[in-house]
């Protein structure tokens, strides 16, 4: 069976490089599933979990925004931050979540800080969810 080479790269270095049967991601325009032989594609990703399937097993990677670049036999995910579940620091994510929630309570919804806090909250929740799965 054909496989896809998946590499996840961040500015701090590559996080993962392996071959998988299928990749599913949550792009800004909706869920995308990629199988080997897909046409070249570029799509921005949301703060979410990337699911990588190999022989019935699913690996998860938490990504904080970024891009997906697809070639017929290769998928590259460019993210500003990406972690495997085992690398996630749950305590840190929890405290980030609390901080973000506090900030959301004090700032008004039209301020820049509000959006930033919301993004931070999303990232924290995403990390916690993935670490707990």
């Amino acid at each position: 069976m054909k496989t896809l080479t998946v590499s996840v790269v961040t500015p701090d270095g590559p996080v993962l490089e392996d071959s998988y049967d299928m990749v599913s991601v949550r792009a800004e325009s909706g869920e995308l599933g990629i199988l080997p032989g897909h046409i070249p594609l570029v799509a921005p990703l949301t703060i979410s979990a990337v699911r990588l399937k190999k022989e019935g097993n699913t690996d998860l990677v938490a990504v904080s925004g970024g891009f997906l670049e697809v070639r017929p036999d290769k998928v590259t995910i460019l993210a500003q931050a990406a972690e495997r579940p085992s690398e996630i620091d749950v305590d840190r994510a929890e405290s980030a979540k609390q901080r973000a929630e506090q900030r959301l309570n004090v700032t008004k919804s039209d301020e820049i800080d509000f959006n930033r806090a919301k993004l931070a909250l999303n990232r924290a929740i995403n990390r916690i969810d993935i670490a707990n799965q």
Partner: protein, 286 residues
């Protein structure tokens, strides 16, 4: 000639200085190794993002984005990457000289530029000369992570997006090798000259469309340019400090050698004098 004791103290203090510079050299060597590795880790990300950007912008379809178009330049932003600490040889001086040259050459008044100094040395320099400072960053760790840089990069890119500045330049030391670094000035924004990658411009499908992808991709690209320069600068800083400290250690050794020689000479002179005094004293008794 200085007295024996004076020379001895000087030898002692030079030895201590040498120990310090030697230790600093070793610290910088190991930091340089890490900085080089960080820079290496960053390469795949940069290459990939460059490839995608160039394949979108070099496509047949006309794409427009504020970051790609040059505006008439009314105000220029400079990001100056220097270090927090001195004792790094010509590292900081070179960057600051380049900045001064650029300002003198291009700008008539202080309203035409603004500076984002990174590192205490750059900040103090700008303050002393009363340059306009948009935002200052100090106390960056030796091995910065992307998250720590993101804010600075984001801020600078934001200035451009809000039309606060019409051009963004980076001034930093480019790391060539452990013994040679070169000051570089690169234009980050507008992104007019995106180098086409390995001519592998495969045509992509865009989801949802090109404009929206550029919307997310270009700020990220600009941020990673800044991050890349910072990693480059950090590697240069450690390399420069390492070389400076090695030279200092070598100099200290030379001084110690010279002082030891004059110490021995002075001691011998004292002995000779004593002997001749004894001899002449004995001769006088005969």
């Amino acid at each position: 000639m200085a007295s024996l004791r004076e020379i001895k103290t000087r030898i002692g203090s030079t030895k201590k200085t040498k120990q310090i510079t030697q230790a600093m050299e070793m610290v910088s060597t190991s930091k340089l190794r890490k900085a080089e590795e960080n820079a290496k880790n960053f390469v795949p990300y940069m290459e990939k993002i460059q490839e995608v950007v160039s394949s979108i912008t070099s496509g047949n379809i006309e794409v427009s984005h504020p970051m790609l178009t040059s505006r008439p330049i009314k105000k220029t932003g400079y990001i100056v990457i220097a270090s927090d600490r001195g004792l790094a040889g010509p590292y900081n001086t070179n960057v600051l000289r380049k900045l001064t040259e650029a300002i003198e050459e291009r700008h008539q008044s202080k309203d035409e530029y603004t500076i984002v100094p990174i590192g205490k040395v750059a900040r103090d320099f700008c303050r002393k000369l009363d340059h306009p400072i948009a935002h200052e960053v100090t106390g960056l760790p030796d091995q910065p992570t992307f998250a720590e840089i993101k804010e600075i990069a984001n801020y600078a890119v934001g200035l451009f997006a809000d039309e606060e500045i019409d051009e963004l330049n980076l001034i930093y030391n480019h790391f060539i090798s452990a013994i040679s670094q070169e000051v570089k000035e690169t234009k980050v924004l507008p992104l007019t000259d995106i180098e086409a990658g390995e001519s592998q411009t495969s045509m992509y499908e865009y989801e949802p469309d090109q404009e929206q992808i550029l919307e997310v991709l270009l700020p990220q690209y600009a941020e990673s340019l800044v991050y890349g320069a910072l990693l480059d600068g950090k590697a240069s800083e450690h390399a420069s400090r390492m070389t400076a400290m090695r030279n200092a250690t070598d100099n200290a050794e030379d001084i110690i050698d010279e002082l030891t020689l004059s110490y021995n000479r002075a001691r011998q002179a004292a002995i000779t004098q004593e002997i001749s005094e004894i001899v002449s004293g004995a001769a006088a008794q005969d």
